[in-house]
């Protein structure tokens, strides 16, 4: 048990327990809480088991001992149902609350305008478009600290999962729907980001670097990119989509102009009724059927 605590909280902390943003912190707290409760359950079961095995082992009992016939006891069984229900109810409460927190603008950042970044995956790269800034990068991500980030995720190919463990949990990027992931960084620094969902041969190296910096530094970087980088064209982008690995790249403009993100979004899915969805699906099919 001590070893466990040490490993989880020690000086060399595991990524998930070393959060640098409010969403990751919420998740790390949930995880610690559940580990605590679960550890108690496991210990209780182990203690009961050890006690019973020690006390009722055959070698300790007289030869003529004949165990009794016991059908069960209503009260004992009620307790065995009741306590787990209480634990599960409490964890459900925490879980539901956290769901709404991680699916919204991070707490404490509600009054700020979020930075929107489109993150698209292709075999086996990440393309980051900053539509408001009018720039695009490949395989690296610069973000301002202390500002909400809204990632719009989609994929040119297999399903991938966009994950920066120290800023928050992952979400899928798919080819027929745009999903939204709300994150924020409290501290400047470099973080690991990767595709967490298996997507074929180049999956293991499907990573990207995240650098969080102050808004001022971020603005300087944007300005610098606009002055120095080449514009992205449809032809260059088509080349970038070819399967393989690329280093880090920087462009002005974004691919959203000629290759926009899928129209379906996860937020629209929540409040759209079935009829609308069917209609729209049919329209889409008509357009793309040729």
């Amino acid at each position: 048990m001590m070893a466990l605590v040490f490993v989880l909280t020690g000086c060399d902390r595991l990524l998930v327990f070393d959060p640098k943003g409010p969403q990751a912190e919420r998740q790390a707290n949930d995880i610690m809480l559940s580990i605590g409760i679960m550890a108690v359950i496991v210990i209780v079961v182990m203690v009961i088991l050890a006690f019973i095995l020690f006390k009722y082992r055959a070698s300790k009992q007289p030869d003529n001992y004949e165990p009794p016939h016991i059908e069960g006891n209503k009260w004992v069984e009620l307790v065995c149902v009741g306590i787990p229900i209480l634990i599960v109810a409490y964890l459900s409460f925490v879980s539901v609350k956290s769901n709404y927190i991680v699916e919204a603008t991070p707490e404490g950042y509600e009054d700020q305008e979020p930075l929107v970044v489109y993150a698209a995956s292709s075999d086996w790269k990440w393309h980051f478009s900053y539509p408001e800034e009018g720039i695009e990068t490949v395989n690296y991500l610069y973000i301002p600290t202390d500002r909400p980030l809204e990632f719009r995720l989609y994929s040119y190919g297999p399903i991938t999962s966009f994950w920066i463990p120290q800023l928050g949990g992952q979400k899928y990027a798919m080819s027929d729907m745009t999903t939204t992931l709300h994150l924020a960084a409290d501290q400047a620094g470099e973080y690991m980001g990767r595709n967490a969902n298996f997507s074929g041969k180049g999956f293991a190296e499907n990573t990207f670097n995240v650098t969080a910096m102050s808004q001022a530094d971020f603005d300087d970087w944007v300005k610098e990119v606009k002055e120095t980088a080449e514009p992205i064209t449809e032809d260059t982008f088509e080349e970038l989509l070819e399967p393989g690995h690329l280093g880090q790249m920087t462009f002005t403009g974004t691919h959203l102009d000629f290759s926009p993100a899928p129209e379906h979004t996860d937020s629209e899915m929540e409040d759209m009724d079935m009829e609308d969805m069917d209609m729209e699906d049919m329209e889409n099919m008509d357009h793309s059927g040729h």
Partner: protein, 648 residues
């Protein structure tokens, strides 16, 4: 030449060529051996054409053990590749094929036949029946499973293995991203064995509902039979979903339909939904019979009746219902929104309640008991804490907001191995040791059994517990390698050591079978463990007809009552027994399905159509066949009973 190119391996390596040679040599060895010892007739009469549930059970058992070694070889290769950072043992493509086949083989071709083995061996005996309800259908189920398993296992030497993970998510598994025939193997092999599983489900449900001995009401069924019943009900509801999904996947790959593609209105996530609507109930199909086996073993070796019989049954019914209401938890991160995730988070955690009830019931079964630490009991005792850890990490994963951090990581891998290995694999090995004497007439060596037990338990802990930690440190699953700077190295090396210990443990099992076959006493009686349920009330080895007279049942432990409380199990005179005839058609159907599957995989339409016509001919012939089975005369029964040591 162009025709033959499709059969070539897309990514050959020396290991694969070596396997080709090994497969060829073993096949030739078997053919030569059978011819030399003149065993073809024996093989045909006693095994290939049998409809006896006990022999079919043994064939399932042998297949499951073979597949355990196949899947285990995959596992040790994976752990070896990841043992050190930047390892060059396998490249990405090979690693992807290895973990894909590991998953499919272990779930579909190891765990499934293993539970079918015990259902076949034990259920008819536990309910006092002479066979299953549809014995020939049972043989067809087995041969379809076997055809599927063989088809899947030749993939790596003919045409290439599937490489899109055992979940085979589209569009990765579609033609655009998975060009070899590998995923065709996945679709067809699982389809063929899946049809067999569905038929077993129907067969077992019918058997349990209609063929129980007089006096055995539903609430007097032994717990393993109850668990088998619930598992088969789940099979009947879950497998059709898989069948449909696999057909859609197959037509996507072979005929250009667009169910799961990225354009033309295809929905890639539809596959994920279908897969898990089958896939989650599937894990309960595996774990419930395992629970049943543990219930039998813990009661026997605590020398006590099972505590809380009614709540045991109720919790299994509840688990079976909930198992269909949780599939979305496999992709909380798909973006369904907070409301959907909250609902599935709660339903998933709810499963912990009935499962917890079972854990406490097993504990209370041992309470005031007289516990003997035999090998089957050791597995059961280790199962309780280890499975509890697997269960509570499941509750952790069910917290969907936190799951955004666990998903797709080694934490998840640790969790499901933590439930499947102590849950299912330990149960199968416990059951193997427990039921071995009933079907083979000698006990497995206890000392070697204990060596295996400790190797597996320690190996398991070393192999899988480190994964919880590396998962929380950001190690994604299915990465064929990682860099040294990640710091995953030492813990992955520890995992490899654990996996190696487990591998040694499995080898000791094989040696144990050999050693015990040579050295164990054959004079063990019919009830070597002093057990409680009906399967121990007949002779060892079990005669073809199981019970000379149908037993009369008074409780869920009638055999124990007969031993201790003077209950009379067998009353009345011997009567003629009606038994089903053997048939070669199931075996032939298996071959035809194999040919059909192979032809579809490679798009060979002429043989595919011929094979499908063959299937319909077999079905048609059956409709016109007059086969009323055969009768065993009272004289024959008496002779058999005397030979086995007195009438029962």
């Amino acid at each position: 030449m162009e025709f033959f190119e499709r059969f070539a391996i897309p990514n050959p390596s020396p290991a694969i060529y070596a396997s080709m040679v090994a497969i060829a040599l073993v096949s030739i060895g078997i053919v030569v051996g059978l011819t030399y010892f003149k065993k073809w007739g024996y093989l045909w009469r006693e095994w290939l054409t049998t409809v006896d549930h006990k022999k079919i059970g043994i064939m399932y058992l042998v297949s499951a053990l073979l597949m355990l070694f196949r899947g285990g070889a995959d596992a040790i290769m994976m752990r070896a590749q990841l043992a050190v950072p930047d390892n060059k043992l396998f490249d990405a493509q090979h690693y992807n094929e290895i973990f894909t086949t590991h998953g499919v083989v272990m779930i579909i071709f190891m765990a499934m036949p293993f539970i079918f083995a015990f259902m076949n061996l034990v259920v008819p005996l536990q309910i006092g029946a002479r066979d299953v309800a549809f014995p020939r259908l049972n043989a067809i189920s087995f041969w379809l499973f076997f055809a599927g398993a063989m088809l899947f296992n030749i993939s790596f030497v003919i045409g290439g293995s599937p490489d899109a993970g055992w979940t085979s998510y589209f569009p990765l598994a579609g033609n655009d991203f998975s060009e070899s025939v590998g995923t065709n193997y996945y679709m067809l092999a699982i389809q063929i064995s899946g049809i067999g599983s569905l038929m077993t489900g129907i067969n077992m449900c019918t058997t349990i509902l209609k063929m129980r001995a007089p006096g055995m009401t539903l609430m007097k069924m032994p717990m393993f039979t109850w668990s088998a019943f619930i598992a088969n009900v789940i099979i009947v509801f879950a497998f059709p979903v898989l069948t449909v999904a696999l057909i859609m996947g197959t037509t996507d790959r072979l005929f250009g339909t667009q169910f799961f593609t990225t354009d033309n209105g295809g929905m890639d996530m539809l596959w994920a939904n279908f897969f898990w609507v089958w896939g989650h109930p599937e894990v309960y199909i595996l774990i419930l019979p395992a629970f049943g086996i543990y219930s039998e073993i813990i009661a026997t070796f605590s020398r006590r009746n099972l505590y809380g019989y009614t709540s045991m049954v109720a919790s299994m019914v509840l688990i079976s219902l909930l198992s269909f209401l949780v599939w979305t938890h496999h992709f909380f991160t798909m973006g369904q929104g907070a409301l959907t995730n909250s609902i599935f988070s709660i339903t998933t955690m709810a499963i912990a309640v009935p499962t917890g009830v079972k854990i406490f019931n097993w504990l209370f079964t041992m309470w005031k008991g007289k516990i003997r630490f035999t090998v089957p009991m050791l597995y059961s005792v280790a199962f309780i804490p280890l499975f509890t850890i697997g269960g509570v990490t499941g509750v952790m994963l069910a917290m969907s907001a936190a799951d955004y951090q666990y998903h797709n990581t080694m934490f998840l891998v640790a969790h499901f191995h933590n439930t499947i290995i102590p849950g299912v694999v330990f149960a199968m090995l416990a059951g193997l040791t427990y039921y071995w004497p009933k079907f083979f007439g000698f006990m497995l060596n206890e000392k070697l059994g204990k060596v295996t037990f400790w190797l597996l338990t320690v190996g398991f802990v070393l192999a899988f517990f480190p994964m919880y930690i590396t998962g929380l440190d950001g190690q994604a699953r299915r990465m064929y390698t990682y860099s040294e700077s990640t710091g995953f190295g030492p813990l992955n090396m520890l995992s490899f050591v654990g996996a190696a210990l487990m591998a040694i443990g499995f080898v000791v099992i094989v040696y144990n079978v050999y050693y015990s076959f040579k050295n164990s006493s054959r004079d063990i009686g019919s009830d070597p463990w002093d057990a409680r349920s009906l399967e121990w009330a007949t002779h060892t080895p079990v005669p073809e007809y199981n019970f000379a007279r149908t037993p009369q049942i008074s409780s869920s432990e009638s055999f124990w009552d007969a031993k201790k409380n003077g209950h009379v199990l067998f009353k009345g005179e011997l009567e003629e027994i009606h038994m089903p005839n053997n048939s070669g058609v199931p075996f032939i159907l298996g071959i035809i399905f194999f040919v059909a599957g192979f032809s579809f995989i490679f798009g060979l339409w002429v043989p595919a159509i011929i094979a499908l016509i063959g299937v319909f001919i077999c079905l048609g012939l059956r409709s016109f066949e007059l086969d009323h089975g055969h009768h065993i005369s009272v004289k024959e029964i008496k002779e058999t009973e005397e030979k086995l040591g007195g009438a029962k």
